[in-house]
Every structure is written in structure tokens, then in C-alpha cells.
Amino acid sequence: MSPDVCDHDVCEQMEGKLIQGTRPGDDSELARHIGSCLRCFRTASEMRDVPALTTLLRVEAPEDPGPAFWARFPTNVAHAWEASRARPSTSMVARLRDMFRLQLPAALAGACVAAMLMIVASSHRERTKVDVVAATRATPVVAMAVTQDDRPNDGAEILLADDYPIEAQSTATLMQLTQQLATEAGVVLRTAVDENESSLNPVEEVELLGTDDLRTVVQALRGTGGRI
């Protein structure tokens, strides 16, 4: 009886049978193997204790909570489950999951809106370029104004754009431009700033600038061929 002469695979197979609960008396092949293999003989001896072990462990069954407990138990589980669903999840993973669950569609929607805005802005820009060409043919003043709109981030202010409020600085620029044009055209503006009005701010000055002045400047410019 020596484990060395045994085929390892055969031993594993026989041990598997023994552990499973097969008795050597019920399996002739197993009985033969145990007779010639010390390792499997020991395993068979150890496995003979299993019924005793089962008896001992089951000898004093724990007290049953009673039929009322078992009748109530499924309802308790259902209530506890509903309560657990009502509670907001607080684990980090759950919070991340929830965040992505809500944020991802929102982000996609945001991206769609941004894309639509870019398309609209792009088409608007194309239209503005066409307007610039048309305006250049009409009057230089308007052309300048529109051209200013086409030059972002270079410090120039929008002069006549409808979409923006007239700020103080752009108003001053408008005043200077008007006066420069008037000087070049040799026209004296009706609302030329005199010494008493020198304390006016640019907004007030523009308010004082009448439409007649602008018309006068435009007529003068047309007389000079529209060149500044």
C-alpha cells in the first residue's frame, strides 16, 4: 500500500467519490483502490466521520421563531424593499451612476443646442459678409460700421449695430468720426460742441447731434465722391 505507485488522476477520482459520500462497500473499484493506496485509505477513514459530524451539528437545532414569524416575514421583506427603494442612494458609485444617468442626456442636449447655435451663427456671419459687400457699394460710413462688426477682438467698437447698446466709448468714436468727416467735407455742424457744452459726456453729445448733421455730412461726402 503506497501512494507513490498510484496514478494521481485515479486517486483524485477515488477521493472525489469518497468525499461525495460513496462507500467503499458500494463500489468495488473504490474498495480495490483503497486496499492498495494509503492516501485514499486515509481519506476513506476521515470521510467515515461525516455522518457523525452531521448528526452532531444537527443535534440541537436552533429554536424556530414560530409560524407567526414566518407568516409575517414575506410582508416584512416587501415593506423593507419598498423602503429601500424610497431612500436615495448615498454610495459614491450610486451617486456617480445617478449623475451620469441625468447628466449625460442633458449634456447631449446641450451639445445639440450648441451645434445648432454654431450653425446659425455661421450662416449669420456669411450673410453679414454679403451685407458688407453691398454696403461698401452704398455709403462708406455704413460700410465702415458694418466692417467694424466683422472684426472681432481688435479693439474696434461696433458703431451702428442694432443688437448692441451704444456704449460711451463707441459714442465718442461716433462723435469723432462725424466731426472728422464734417471737417474734411468743410461743413460746420449745427450742434458743434461749444465751450459751454464741453462738460457733456459722449452720450449726451450724441443725443444733441441732430439727424440734420448726419444728413449734411452724408451729402457732403457724396459731393466728394464718397472718399474719406
Partner: protein, 192 residues
């Protein structure tokens, strides 16, 4: 002629589609074994009831992820055992030392004999509790739930061969811890 009870797999399929009745049937079918499995770990009725309840809630939440409905029982026991072990780990430092005080030895002979037997059974249970986790779970699923090794392997996420080896090691270790063959202890218990 009695109606054939639906199998676990049938009930699991129905529960997956949202049938509360099917899940309740599964709860009723397994509430006792699950409760006693938890009780063997925690030795406290309230804790065992709470763990069993939590196990079913976990199962209900994870049911859509269970691909093979046939392994429901093993899967349920695995979740119950894991929750119980987590509970033991979390409450390990709160064990009442008063429980460790031995009983008064000056008793009548019959009672003394009864207590000796009970103590031996208790000694065995303590020895089982000392086993490495996988060996203990394998042994308990085999002895109490009478699961085949194939299902134990599923429950413990291992192979059938490894489950058999764990069981074998558990038996050997118990013999070693108790210092004598288990059949001697069992003989005394049966003669009571």
C-alpha cells in the same frame, strides 16, 4: 391530484418580469433555510432575521443580473453567508465577554452528563466557527442545506473539485481540533 409546485427557475423568470407573487413564493420557500444559515453565523434571532431580510432585498435588486435561474438557491445562500460574515466582521469587537464565563460545575450527575454532551456539540460548533471561511461555508452548505458539491461550487464561486477539497480539509481540521474521531462524540450524543 395536487398541482406541481413551480421550480425555482420558473419563479425566478416570473419574478424577473415583475411578478411579486413569484418572488413571494421564493421568499416563502427559502426563508427558513436562509434564516437558519444566518443564525448559525450570528447566533442571534434579531440579527439573523434582519440578515435574512436584507439578503432577500439584495436578491430582488440583483435578480435581473442572475443569468442562470437554475442556480438561484446557491446564489441566495452565497449572498446570505457573505452578508452574515460581513455582519460578524463589523460586530467582532462588540462580543460580550460575559458569554465566555463557564457554567457552574457543581451539578447532579445526569444533568452533568447532559451538559457534557451539549458542551461537546457546542465544542464542535465552535470548532466549525474556527474553520477558514471557505471550508466553513462548504461544510455548512453540505451538512445543513445538503447541497451537492456542484451547487456549493456555484455558491462559493469555485470549482466542484475545489469544493470537495475544502470539505475534505474541513473534516480533517475538525478531527484535529477536537482531538479525537467525530464518531466517538456522535456515539455519546446518540446514547442520550
Amino acid at each position: 391530484m395536487s398541482a406541481v409546485a413551480p421550480t425555482d427557475a420558473e419563479l425566478v423568470h416570473q419574478a424577473k418580469t415583475g411578478s411579486r407573487t413569484a418572488f413571494e413564493a421564493l421568499v416563502r420557500r427559502y426563508q427558513k433555510p436562509l434564516y437558519f444559515l444566518c443564525l448559525r453565523y450570528v447566533h442571534d434571532h434579531d440579527a439573523a432575521a434582519d440578515l435574512a431580510q436584507r439578503t432577500f432585498i439584495r436578491v430582488l435588486d440583483k435578480l435581473p443580473e442572475l443569468r442562470d435561474a437554475e442556480i438561484f438557491r446557491s446564489w441566495l445562500f452565497r449572498i446570505g453567508a457573505n452578508l452574515s460574515l460581513n455582519h460578524l466582521r463589523d460586530h467582532a469587537r462588540f462580543v460580550d465577554e460575559a458569554q465566555m464565563v463557564p457554567d457552574e460545575p457543581n451539578l447532579m450527575p445526569d444533568v452533568q452528563k447532559h451538559l457534557e454532551t451539549a458542551e461537546e456539540a457546542e465544542a464542535l460548533r465552535l470548532a466549525v466557527a474556527e474553520l477558514p471561511t471557505k471550508q466553513r461555508m462548504t461544510l455548512e452548505l453540505r451538512v445543513y442545506e445538503e447541497l451537492p458539491f456542484k451547487d456549493i461550487a456555484v455558491a462559493l464561486e469555485t470549482t466542484e473539485g475545489a469544493a470537495k477539497v475544502n470539505f475534505h480539509y474541513a473534516v480533517k481540521r475538525l478531527r484535529s481540533l477536537l482531538g479525537r474521531p467525530l464518531s466517538e462524540l456522535a456515539g455519546k450524543v446518540e446514547r442520550r
